[in-house]
């Protein structure tokens, strides 16, 4: 489903050139749950951003459902993103000026889903994530775990094919962390492909496969079991 070929990302600032990613060749199949691990600064977030079409690779190819999206214009990438990819971040990244309901609704707005259906789907998601009671609250009024559940709800609301999660549990205590991991596994079981960056070996275990990055390279891929064998 996702496939990279010799993917490279070089950041050039005034003084130094940082090679954040160097010849990355990975493949993620439909329905897989892939964890990415590695020391800080090794390029995990960079990779995830490129996989999520939030950033451009400097070189190499990136195929999404066999389509070479690395040559897409910003405009095509934007339209490709919506509906196909959902994001969850360590720092939740909710829009502070919007309520819980409005945050979750946002992807549907950009997909031009009619209002009655939007309402229905957002309410479903709120129920599912057990935050229905908080739907009119603003992000600052929620605990970290609640915020992350809103973020997950927002990521899945448009029923994307892939969810990309960058340290989704990073800011949570273990109880809330497990809760979020539970949500992600459940989504995976329902068929959503998941790529997740994490520092925790325990949470990495939720995946079928772990990719280890080091200094911009893929070092090992541990296959735990065949996906949905």
């Amino acid at each position: 489903m996702l496939k990279t070929r010799d993917l490279k990302k070089i950041y050039t600032t005034e003084e130094v050139e940082t090679t954040a990613l160097n010849n990355i060749n990975i493949e993620v199949n439909e329905g897989e749950f892939v964890s990415i691990m590695g020391p800080s600064g090794c390029g995990k977030s960079t990779l995830l951003n490129i996989l999520g079409l939030l950033d451009n690779p400097s070189a190499g190819e990136y195929l999404f459902l066999d389509e070479n999206v690395s040559v897409f214009s910003e405009r095509r990438r934007a339209s490709f993103r919506k509906g196909n990819i959902g994001f969850v971040f360590q720092s939740f990244n909710l829009i502070d000026e919007l309520t819980v309901f409005e945050n979750i609704e946002l992807p549907l707005l950009y997909l031009r889903v009619p209002s009655s259906e939007r309402k229905k789907r957002v309410e479903e998601a709120l129920q599912q994530m057990e935050i229905f009671a908080r739907r009119t609250h603003f992000p600052q009024q929620l605990s970290g775990g609640q915020q992350q559940r809103v973020a997950v709800a927002r990521a899945v609301i448009a029923r994307p094919k892939v969810i990309l999660a960058d340290e989704p549990t990073g800011n949570l205590d273990s109880a809330h962390g497990s809760e979020v991991m539970g949500l992600l596994s459940k989504l995976n079981e329902e068929g959503t492909t998941i790529v997740m960056v994490t520092h925790s070996p325990d949470y990495a275990e939720y995946g079928n496969r772990v990719i280890h990055l080091f200094d911009g390279h893929v070092v090992t891929e541990n296959i735990k079991e065949q996906p949905h064998a």
Binding site: L54, E74, R75, A78, K82, E97, Y110, A158
Partner: protein
């Protein structure tokens, strides 16, 4: 989707009240100024456009060229209208016209001096759209002493009784009211309260003026649809040439001017009152655009400066699927709603200040933004323009962020954005400095004109029309008044700059002088020159008690001597002839006895005009009284007592010469006031923008400032750190502004024959003002930021 935009905007607004207020206030004040100017410009442009026949109505004018110095005048011979109608087929209708000014009117045993009388021929009513509410257009001016009164005059004199058939005595002549006319719209260059037949003038005036060689009245014509201006002008010139006596080397050409041009275009000298000037229309339109720009720049700068805060929201929206187009739309809609709110505020402001604005401009300004289609469309255009102008740059910049960079954390203002904002601030201050220089120049020029050496002493000089017995008894009255405390001197004659007569039919050294209307003819009392404090530079003044009789003595100003020719000097023979084509009736003659230092005879936008003065006891209509400063009231009271004794049937009306002179510069004085106000507003908006930018800079650097303070920086250090940038920007702006201001003010001053030098001091003052203003606004913000307890700002990082 839109609901979501508004929600975000509203919540942002509430969250950042200060910022929102600055943004809105700046825009609203800018838009209000722009609208106010628009109202004024619209009024100026609307002059004389309400006539149904407007397209085919013209006023005749004449190009004279006697001595290689061509002049254009709208004064024409009274006999022109009838001749044109008869001999030029394109002229369908024609009328003579004149504004006679205020008249003495008697009614019901009381006398009044309030109503302006105009004279015209019957065609006037068919040509112009001044509708009658009573009476019949066909017969209203049929008789020599018919009178049409306006509705408001009718109400003043006759109340509820039917005015038609009533009799009013104007200047001792009974007139019968035949019709009532709607009041003359304020945007008409012709102004009057009542209208009479042109032939109602006294017989002696008709005798003098019904003649091709006297050009003293206006002629309006209505041309046929097929007429071309070239044809009409050639044919009219031919008609005049057939009739008029010729002068060697002189050319006289007639031409037509569309009536819609009369108010604003002054290529032709005009003496009807209350004129405008197309230059000011352009000037103020430019000012309106400038104000809009300055306000738009504020919005742009404040919005992009806040980009760092908005970036996260924008990035997140992109992440969940917003396209760039979505975001541009959102940001533009934000600007649009802000602009709409600002425009509504602006409309309220303009409504509130309309009376003040009317006062400044001396007009009755109308502002109906929601009912007048033109106004509404202009407002809409302004809203769209402002939105695009102020909103597109922020929308373009903000929507371009690559989400990954934004989501990573705080992004820092990109250097090109900072450069852009600096350029914009420079632009605003260039505008402000140019405006300040402009305002100071206007002020200086007007003071200069007012205080200029006029060649005579205009101070404490009262003058009035003598009437009835008061005029006949002038010699005795003069003696009595001279002996009164509070009165220094008494003389008679029209004071310079308060009105004048042209000299026609003059021979100097036996040679005929072309009847150049610039040549003034001024009959005065024997001690006029001394009382006016004019300076004799050659020869002598008039001898007292008519000592120059039986031949007259003439005193000319220097310009008159040069105009009349190199052979003319003290001792030259000069003769005035009677009013006939053949110039055979000698009126009186004499010799030039003296020359006075040049004095201004006509308003200062013209150069000094030539004038011939002579002792003319029979022709004295004005008394001039030099009062002792501080004793004006006693003096006026004394004159009034004599007036009541001898001329009680006439109202007591007097004026001071310097007030009359100030009246000439009313347009300029009003311009000065309006310009000053809008300049102040432009500077205010620019400073508002600086406050916004500076407070934003302070917010952004709150941590840096905190650390610096902890490390020992004083409040002064921090203020300096934060203000330097802005002050440098204003200095840079000065570099651009000085040449621009120098050029623009130079252009404006060109129209004055006598103008101030624009010195460096004025520029320095303008720059100093701008720098001070900038330093003050930025400084306040800086002090606020610097004096906060550093621990507070660090704790929250």
């Amino acid at each position: 989707m839109f609901a979501s935009f508004f929600k975000i905007q509203l919540r942002n607004l509430i969250k950042r009240k200060g910022h929102a207020i600055i943004n809105l206030l700046g825009l609203a004040v800018g838009l209000a100024s722009c609208l106010a100017i628009m109202v004024w410009v619209q009024d100026e442009l609307s002059y004389d456009r309400f006539h149904d026949n407007g397209e085919s109505l013209y006023r005749m004018w004449v190009r004279w060229d006697y001595s290689g110095e061509p002049m254009r005048s709208s004064l024409t011979p009274a006999v022109l209208a009838a001749a044109l109608k008869q001999d030029v087929p394109e002229v369908v209708r024609a009328t003579r016209f004149n504004q006679e000014g205020k008249q003495f009117i008697k009614h019901d045993g009381r006398s009044f001096y309030d109503e302006e009388l105009a004279l015209a021929d019957p065609d006037f009513l068919d040509m112009f759209s001044f509708p009658l509410t009573r009476g019949d257009k066909e017969t209203a001016l049929a008789d020599r002493y018919s009178l049409i009164v306006t509705e408001s005059m009718a109400a003043r004199y006759f109340g509820r009784t039917d005015p038609v058939g009533q009799v009013l005595n104007i200047n001792r002549q009974d007139f019968t009211v035949t019709a009532v006319m709607k009041d003359i719209p304020a945007n008409s260059h012709m102004r009057f309260d009542c209208l009479a037949h042109f032939d109602s003038r006294p017989q002696y005036l008709i005798d003098i003026t019904e003649n091709w060689n006297v050009s003293a009245y206006y002629t309006y014509v209505q041309l046929s649809e097929s007429a071309t201006i070239e044809d009409v002008s050639a044919k009219s010139t031919a008609v005049v040439e057939q009739n008029r006596s010729k002068h060697e080397g002189a050319t006289v050409e007639f031409d037509v001017q569309p009536i819609a041009r009369i108010h604003l275009h002054h290529e032709i000298t005009d003496y009807l009152e209350g004129h405008g000037d197309i230059l000011y229309v352009y000037l103020f339109s430019a000012l309106a655009v400038l104000l809009l720009l300055v306000a738009g720049i504020n919005y742009m700068n404040l919005t992009t400066a806040r980009a760092t805060e908005r970036a996260r929201e924008i990035g997140l929206r992109k992440m969940v699927g917003a396209s760039r187009l979505n975001l541009i739309r959102q940001l533009l809609i934000e600007t649009l709603t802000t602009t709409i709110v600002a425009v509504l505020l602006a409309v309220v402001l303009v409504e509130a200040f309309l009376p003040v604005l009317s006062d400044w401009s001396g007009k009755q300004l109308q502002f109906s933004p929601f009912t007048d289609f033109l106004t509404l469309s202009i407002i809409t255009a302004i809203v769209v323009l402002t939105t695009l102008l102020a909103g597109s740059y922020p929308a373009f910049i903000l929507s371009a962020y690559i989400p990954a960079t934004v989501l990573k954390g705080r992004i820092y203002s990109n250097p090109s954005g900072v450069l852009f904002r600096r350029l914009m601030v420079i632009g605003q201050f260039v505008a402000s400095i140019v405006l300040i220089v402009g305002a100071l120049t206007i002020q200086n020029q007007l003071n200069y004109i007012r205080d200029k050496e006029l060649g005579f002493d205009k101070s404490n000089l009262l003058y009035m029309d003598m009437r009835g017995k008061f005029r006949q008894l002038y010699p005795e009255i003069k003696q009595q008044l001279t002996a009164t405390t509070g009165i220094a001197d008494v003389t008679a004659g029209r004071p310079p700059l308060t009105g004048y007569n042209s000299a026609f039919y003059v021979r100097v050294n036996g040679r005929l002088v072309p009847d150049d209307y610039r040549l003034g003819r001024s009959p005065v009392d024997a001690d006029f020159i001394e009382t006016m404090a004019m300076e004799i530079i050659d020869g002598r003044s008039f001898s007292p008690d008519g000592g120059d009789a039986p031949l007259a003595g003439f005193v000319l100003n220097e310009t008159a001597i040069t105009t009349l020719g190199p052979d003319v000097s003290v001792g030259s023979h000069l003769a005035f002839y009677g009013h006939s084509n053949t110039l055979d009736t000698l009126h009186f003659e004499g010799y030039i006895i003296g020359i006075v230092k040049d004095f201004h005879y006509r308003p200062l936008t013209n150069s000094i005009s030539p004038v011939i003065m002579y002792h003319g006891p029979e022709e004295l209509y004005d008394i001039c009284i030099r009062v002792v400063p501080g004793q004006e009231q006693q003096a006026i009271a004394a004159v009034k007592v004599l007036w009541e004794t001898h001329a009680s049937e006439y109202p007591f009306e007097y004026q001071f010469v310097d007030d009359t002179i100030d009246e000439f510069y009313r347009t300029e004085a009003r311009l000065k006031e309006m310009f000053g106000v809008f300049t102040a507003l432009a500077v205010f908006i620019s400073c508002l923008g600086l406050v916004g930018l500076a407070s934003h800079a302070a917010d952004r650097r709150v941590k840096e400032i905190g650390i610096r303070r902890v490390l020992g920086a004083s409040v002064g250090n921090i203020v300096k750190l934060m203000s330097t940038e802005f002050v440098v920007l204003v200095m840079l702006a000065s570099l651009v502004a000085v040449p621009a201001a120098w050029y623009v003010t130079g252009k404006w001053l060109e129209q004055f024959a006598y103008r101030v030098e624009i010195g460096w001091g004025l520029f320095a003052l303008a720059i100093l003002l701008a720098v001070l203003m900038a330093a003050a606004t930025v400084g306040v913000q800086a002090v606020r930021a610097a004096s906060a307890n550093p621990i507070d700002s660090l704790r929250y990082e």
